[in-house]
Structure formats: C-alpha cells, structure tokens
C-alpha cells in the first residue's frame, strides 16, 4: 500500500473535527479486529486453564494439558509425519512456485492471464471437491493413504501462495539488472541463478513460510487422502474434536499459534506483511 499520499498531506488534517461518523467507524473497526483475534485469545486461555473447560476470568494456571501430550506416542508420531511433510512440501512448492512465477512474469503470450488464474485456482476451488477429486485419482494410482499422496495434495494448495509472493518480488525487480548481466556476457541460466534469485530471495522466503504453514495446518485434503499410518497433527485434532472433547487439544493448538507467530515474524522481516495479498 502506498503511504506517500499520507505523509505529504498538509498538517491541516489535524485541525479537522473528529466527527461522529469517524468515531463510529473506529469503534466498529476495533470491534472487528477484536472479533478476529478472539479465537486465538480463547485458545491461550483454555490451554493454561486448570479445568477441562475454560473460564473467564481465569481461575488458575496449569500446564497439565501440555504434560498430557508430551510423551504421548500417537501425538508425537503425528507431529513427526507433519514435520516430514512440511519440509518436503515446502522444498517442492518453493522450487515449482519460484520458477513458475519468474517465467510467467518474463513471458508474454496469449492466454497468460488464463494460465495464471488456473495456477491460482486451488485457492478458490471448493476444498471438498478438490479433496474428493484427489481421493479418486490417488485410489486409481494406488497411492491413497501414502505420504506421496499427502505431499501432492499439500503442494497443490500451497503452490498459489508461493506463486503470489514470488510474483510480487519479481514485479518489483528492476529488469535492467538482468539486462546488465546479460550484456556483460552471462547467459539466461547464469543470470537467473546469480542475479535474479538473490534479488527475489525475500519473496521466496515468504513463499516458503506460507507453504510450510499451509502444509502444517492443512486438513481438508489430508482427511481424504491420509490413512491411519499417515495421520497428521491437524487430522488427529479433527478426529479428537469430532469424537470427544479432549482438552489436550488446547495444548496442541498452542503449537499452531507458535508456528503462526514465527511465520508472522519471518514474513514481516522479508517481504513485509503489507504485501501478503
């Protein structure tokens, strides 16, 4: 977002009376932000609550839900599965997304916009439909319930994020830098690796963070294509919520929030939060 307009505004702005409308908008706006953060706040409240159900205001402090999951073989197996998946998915998605975003930015051809829409479409295709479509395909291919299936499913949903963040970085890149490299005798391959890649690194890192977070939290597709042997943490959380109310889930939730916080920091330090969408 461009904020040069704001800084150049005359100081007169401050003299303007704060009207009733402006106040109302600020109050409503602040309520909306409170509403957005409410679930995360509640998770913290219940994760450290001594009772099975959270209380407001809190009556005590306890870490017993955390000790309930530490050392639990099933949870740690799910965590291992999730982490292995996250690493592979992030690597694959970053390579595919970066190369595709760069190529699309540099190529001019008919139907480019349609291709871009197609590559971004996993963001909008109904998740239930994508999940079922992949369930059929993987059953036919004989990879249903395997890590392979999960990797493919996660890469599909994480791909658009990398395409976007790297796309932002490439469009901010001054093409003259690449031309200079080529004029000095470097071929397109060398230019790409020695000039372009280092310059678009922030977008790549942010894209990697997005695909890691997406993979770690993915449940809509995982639920269809995983098997009891390849249960991920979110799938396990889903099963728990659906069948019983286990407050240990609260403690697991805190892991997800910690991951989100780390992701926020990395995104802010690389491309900046304002460039996310």
């Amino acid at each position: 977002m461009d904020n040069t307009n704001r800084t150049n505004l005359p100081k007169r702005r401050h003299k303007r009376r704060f009207s009733g409308w402006t106040t109302l908008v600020w109050v409503v706006g602040c309520l909306v932000y409170l509403f957005l953060i409410l679930p995360i706040f509640v998770i913290f409240l219940s994760a450290f609550s001594p009772n099975a159900y959270p209380e407001f205001p809190p009556t005590g402090f306890s870490v017993k839900w955390f000790s309930a999951i530490v050392g639990d073989a099933a949870w740690s197996k799910a965590l291992t599965t999730s982490i292995i998946l996250l690493v592979i998915v992030t690597l694959v998605t970053v390579v595919l997304g970066t190369t595709a975003a760069y190529a699309i930015a540099r190529l001019e051809f008919k139907g480019k916009q349609a291709l871009q829409a197609f590559l971004l479409s996993p963001l909008m295709v109904p998740q239930i439909v994508l999940g079922i479509a992949l369930l059929y395909l993987f059953t036919d291919m004989g990879i249903i319930g395997s890590m392979k299936g999960l990797i493919i499913g996660h890469v599909i949903v994480a791909f658009p994020y990398v395409l976007r963040t790297v796309g932002v970085s490439v469009s901010n890149l001054n093409p003259k830098l690449e031309l200079a490299s080529m004029n000095l005798g470097a071929g397109p391959v060398r230019t790409f690796f020695r000039v372009t890649l280092p310059l678009i690194k922030p977008g790549i890192v942010a894209g990697g963070v997005f695909s890691a977070v997406t993979s770690f939290g993915e449940v809509s597709i995982s639920l269809f294509v995983s098997s009891p042997k390849t249960v991920t943490v979110p799938v396990r959380v889903f099963n728990y919520i659906e069948q019983t109310f286990d407050p240990a889930v609260n403690a697991v939730s805190v892991i997800f929030i910690a991951v989100a916080v780390v992701a926020l920091i990395i995104i802010e330090r690389t491309i900046g939060l304002t460039k996310v969408m």
Binding site: V32, L36, L107, P188, F238
Partner: protein, 292 residues
C-alpha cells in the same frame, strides 16, 4: 549474438522453467477433475457398487430431489450471507488499516489480520466450539452476569457456522478492500466535501464506487471458500445441516455412493463457478466504465 536470438534464448529458458509446474498442476489438478466428471455419469447398484454403465441418473437425483435442492439453496444462502457480512465488516477494518495514525498501529492491525490466515482451520474452529459450547465461554459469562439461567444452545446450527466462517474469511475481504481504499486520492473525498456532500454521502457516492474492484475480489474468495469448506460446518454445525459440502462428505465417506458424491461435487463446482464468473464479469464491466 543478435538481439532476437538473445530474446529467443531468454524465452526458451522461461518456458523450460514453467514446464515442471505446468506438468504438475496439469496432472494433479486437471486429471482428477476429469476422473470426477466421468465418475459422476456412472450408475450404482443397490450395494453402492459403481457400475460401468453411463447415465444422467446421479444428476437427475441431485436436481429433482427436494432434499438436495433445499441443500443447494441453503448452501448458496449461507455463502451469500457470509460474503455480505464479511464485506460490511471489512470496510471499517480496512478504513482503520489505511488511516492508522502511525506505522506501529498499522503493523498491529496487519498482524491481527494475517494471523487467522496462518492458524489451521481446525484450530480456529476448535476455538469457536470452546466459545459457543453449552459450558463454553459465552454461556459462562452470561450466566455469571445473571443474564440467563439456562445455558443457550449456540452450537450445532447454521448461525454458529456463519459466525465461525466470518472470522475465518474476513481477512480475505479486508485486504483487497484496504488496497482499493489506499489507492483513492484523498483530494477526491475533499472535493466532494467541499462541494457540500456530508461524510455519509461522500462515502456512498465517491468512496464506495471506487472500492468496487477490491470489494468484488474479496467477495469472490469469500464466497468460494464459504460454499466449499466442510471442516467448519461439520465441527460447528454438525453433520446433519443442509449444506452441500456436508452431503458430499457423507455420500463419499459414509454411504460410499461415489458417483452421487461426484455429481454433487461438480454441481457445487458449477454453482461456485457461475457466481465467480458473474462477479468477474461485473468487475470487468465496472473497470471498463471507470477507465473508458
């Protein structure tokens, strides 16, 4: 080396870079939908075994049974309601984002906006269960304030689904609207006010039309997410809600009528596609009017 040859080499290189993604997305995004399409025209026997004969029977069932028609209607209604609420709430939120007095406040608003996107949907849904359950937070606070004597049933209905949906999808509406708002030259609003229009009139006649592109981009994403998710409705609304993604989930996971599940999936895809297409067309027309 001539200039055209250099350009040719660069283009060649770009196409080579693009190929793996095209192959991957082609195989794993187009192929499964083709399979789904073929499957949806198959018949089933009474044991739900997929037969090799083709017919329109699955689609006839979807489009003639009052139950499925009602489900489609309520699915579209819930998605529409979620979209409208998200858009309405997105304006004040986007306004605060654009007009924040300093960088620190702005960053804080961005953190509040982006953090829901980074937390898994099961976790956010779980939080809503904790908030809305019989012995959840809302009931507890209301009982302590002696506003109610019996806990209210807030979960297991479509209202709970809409509340959870709005929280999950609001950022997708706020971010594009904020971008549109930020692009409006401030003197346009000033001009409107100097010419005597009040704040409300300026908003309706100047600001609102200029943010239509952001509003539509937001609406497209929110609507397709709301119509196609099943995790939140399943956990917060319950299995039995008349909601197309839930019916699909049931057909595939419990009834095992795969062709019917496929036909319903494609019906859902079709409706989402129509809405997205219409919104996209409106956006194009609008931008054409604005620029021409």
């Amino acid at each position: 080396m001539t200039k055209t040859k250099k350009k040719y080499r660069r283009n060649m290189f770009s196409w080579i870079l693009l190929t793996p993604s095209l192959l991957f997305m082609g195989i794993f995004l187009i192929l499964p939908f083709l399979l789904l399409l073929i499957l949806s025209f198959h018949d089933v026997d009474k044991y739900m075994n997929t037969l090799s004969t083709f017919s329109l029977s699955q689609y006839i069932e979807v489009f003639t049974s009052p139950f499925y028609l009602g489900t489609i209607r309520s699915t579209l209604w819930v998605a529409l309601l979620t979209t409208v609420i998200c858009i309405v709430l997105a304006y004040p939120a986007a306004y605060l984002l654009v007009r924040s007095p300093n960088q620190g406040t702005r960053t804080m608003f961005y953190i509040l906006l982006v953090s829901p996107l980074l937390t898994s949907v099961v976790i956010r849904t779980f939080a809503w269960i904790v908030i809305l359950a019989q012995n959840g937070l809302v009931n507890e606070v209301l009982m302590k304030l002696h506003l109610i004597n019996q806990p209210l049933t807030l979960l297991w209905n479509m209202n709970a689904v809409i509340i959870a949906y709005v929280q999950v999808m609001l950022p997708f509406a706020v971010l594009p609207i904020a971008t549109s708002l930020g692009e409006i030259a401030p003197n346009l609003r000033q001009a409107s006010m100097i010419l005597g229009a009040g704040r409300l009139r300026t908003f309706v006649k100047v600001t609102l039309p200029l943010t239509i592109p952001g509003m539509i981009s937001g609406a497209v994403i929110v609507f397709s997410l709301a119509a196609g998710s099943y995790i939140t409705p399943l956990l917060v609304g319950g299995r039995l809600q008349p909601f197309l993604p839930l019916s699909i989930y049931q057909q595939v996971m419990q009834v095992s009528n795969l062709p019917l599940g496929a036909a319903m999936s494609l019906t859902l895809l079709l409706f989402v596609g129509i809405v997205v297409g219409v919104l996209g067309w409106i956006l194009k027309r609008w931008e054409g009017r604005m620029n021409g």
